[in-house]
């Protein structure tokens, strides 16, 4: 419990006397590490490198119908990425989405986890499962289901959906936010809830003797102790938000308000189907870097606060 999730791993405990270990069991280590290592290099590191290389090339043609050939273009593609207004609008859009949706989703997850843990509610097993079930629904299927539920003539909420057009340009982003929230609240709740279960009971007893009520215990003891879990779920949510793809891609069949550049990943996909792989690779690299930097900065900030 004392460790927090950090980008840098905890230092391993010093190894006692048996320093000969590394030599004695040296041959076992490659057996354990190499299979994963090879796949990690081939399908994780190599694609990253390859995307960077591809993004530095550009296709040139002699005349309109001349043969295409790839030439080194330096940062030409990145220039185009930075001048692409639609791409940055889409980044702004998913950031607005994230700033609203992530706190709502995690707030709800935290509230439900605290209620489950408080002992005030009967039927905990049932609720835990009921909230977790949407996680079994893949993003694409969830988006299709909600697409039908939002539609004015099929929805069980007909009075609502015929009065409010959830698929209009103004609301469709939040209609998708609801789909994501619906799928992921239970999953996040469960992570926070298991962290709550791991808190030893003595901690509460001491607080109760000091006269703390359930709200006070939740606020001053439980929430600080499950902070690492909340940080972890936030990082995953930030990553997920910037990568939004399945929901907007599905919603394109329900709403004309969702364009082919609605989210950054949709831009990557539609650019690669033009096909302009070099530009799409540059979009991918910029998006991955943005994601990496944002999650990393978030981890740093929360860590620093933890150290203080």
């Amino acid at each position: 419990m004392t460790q927090t999730l950090t980008a840098a791993p905890e230092k391993p405990a010093p190894v006692p006397a048996s320093t000969g270990r590394a030599v004695r069991h040296g041959r076992a280590v490659p057996f354990f590490v190499v299979p994963f290592g090879i796949l990690f290099v081939l399908f994780y590191l190599l694609p990253i490198g390859y995307a960077i290389v591809q993004s530095l090339y550009t296709v040139e043609r002699t005349g309109t119908f001349g043969p295409a050939r790839e030439v080194f273009g330096g940062l030409t593609q990145y220039e185009r990425v930075f001048q692409d207004g639609a791409f940055w609008t889409s980044i702004g859009r998913v950031l607005v989405f994230g700033v609203v949706q992530v706190p709502v989703m995690l707030g709800l997850a935290l509230l439900l986890a605290l209620l489950l843990d408080s002992g005030l509610v009967k039927g905990r097993r049932f609720f835990r499962l009921a909230f977790f079930v949407p996680y079994a629904v893949p993003g694409v299927i969830a988006a299709i289901m909600w697409g039908f539920l939002y539609s004015p003539n099929l929805s069980p909420l007909k009075p609502v959906t015929s009065a409010i057009d959830f698929l209009s340009a103004d609301l469709v982003l939040w209609a998708m936010a609801n789909v994501v929230t619906w799928v992921y609240v239970g999953y996040n709740m469960l992570i926070i809830y298991s962290a709550l279960l791991a808190i030893p009971a003595e901690v509460y007893e001491a607080a109760r003797l000091d006269g703390a009520g359930p709200w006070r215990i939740a606020w001053s003891i439980k929430i600080p102790l499950v902070m690492p879990a909340i940080v972890l779920t936030t990082v995953f949510s930030i990553i997920g938000t910037l990568q939004l793809l399945a929901e907007p891609q599905v919603f394109r069949s329900f709403s004309s308000a969702v364009s082919s550049t609605y989210t950054p990943n949709l831009t990557v996909y539609s650019t690669s189907s033009i096909p302009n792989f070099n530009l799409a690779a540059a979009f991918s690299v910029v998006l991955a870097l943005t994601t990496f930097v944002l999650s990393f900065v978030f981890l740093r900030i929360t860590q620093r606060r933890g150290d203080a």
Partner: protein, 281 residues
């Protein structure tokens, strides 16, 4: 505490739970009810209650449509996700175990690189993977989706934490003294102690692959290789031209989520306790 006070204290939390249950389960109930209706009743009757119960006729129609392509998609999904998650979990467990239990050169470097991999979104890899596979003429194959799905850096991170927590060094020393080889010890002793954790890693991995939409979308053009998500997605884009597909999409959606819901129910005692460990330790 007196009874009325207790009731008052419980009323609000119970209400919150009830409202949330409605929110989470109504769409699934709607899907089940919708899948049991024929096309006319789907639009003309109460969406949240049954009309004639035609679920099995509908399933029959779905399975017969276009020579049973739906069944093929389901099988593909099970192979892609089940296979990749099973093998991927073993690989991640081995790597995480070695990181936790052995000291070797480059260990910290390896761990840090793998951990940074957690922050690299899988969708960022889909396009370069497509370009790499097209270099070797292997796009639009089973392997183009399966092989990249095996890699799960978060699984390695979790496996390292679980191995540190649940496999005592003394036990490994004892196994060594008994003459058990390192590899044998891992499979006979360590994996047993790590088993609940491995189920958690498996579930995480399974859902991640199950949800990965961009990779098959970019990689595959032959619909006989599609996972069920991609198949239903293409049907859904054609609903305007072929209205009969709407009913099939609804029934297909219901069938496609059923295996995972059953798996969640059966594996409950594992994910219930295991999920949080990565965040707590």
């Amino acid at each position: 505490m007196t009874a009325p006070v207790l009731i008052k204290q419980r009323a609000l939390p119970t209400l919150v739970m009830a409202v949330c249950t409605l929110y989470f389960l109504t769409p699934i109930w709607w899907l089940f009810v919708g899948a049991s209706k024929n096309a006319d009743q789907f639009t003309s009757t109460n969406p949240l209650w049954f009309a004639d119960f035609d679920l099995f006729t509908n399933i029959g129609d779905l399975l017969a449509y276009r020579d049973g392509v739906f069944l093929r998609w389901m099988l593909n999904s099970i192979l892609y996700t089940g296979g990749a998650a099973l093998l991927g979990t073993v690989l991640a467990a081995m790597c995480g175990y070695a990181l936790a239990k052995y000291r070797f050169r480059g260990r910290e470097l390896l761990f840090n690189v793998v951990l940074s991999g957690v922050l690299v979104p899988a969708t960022a890899l889909a396009l370069p993977l497509f370009l790499m596979f097209s270099k070797v003429d292997a796009t639009n194959t089973f392997w183009a989706v399966f092989l990249p799905s095996l890699v799960n850096p978060f699984g390695v991170y979790l496996a390292r934490i679980y191995a540190t927590a649940s496999v005592p060094d003394e036990l490994l020393e004892a196994a060594r003294i008994d003459g058990s080889g390192e590899i044998r010890t891992f499979f006979k002793v360590a994996t047993r102690l790590m088993f609940p954790a491995l189920v958690t890693i498996f579930l995480f991995h399974f859902v991640a692959v199950w949800n990965n939409f961009l990779l098959p979308l970019i990689m595959l053009s032959d619909e006989r290789l599609f996972p069920v998500t991609l198949g239903l997605y293409t049907w859904n884009t054609q609903v305007n031209q072929i209205p009969e597909l709407r009913g099939l999409v609804i029934i297909g959606a219901l069938l496609s989520i059923t295996p995972l819901v059953i798996a969640f129910l059966l594996l409950q005692r594992f994910w219930r306790n295991g999920l949080g460990a990565g965040a707590v330790k």
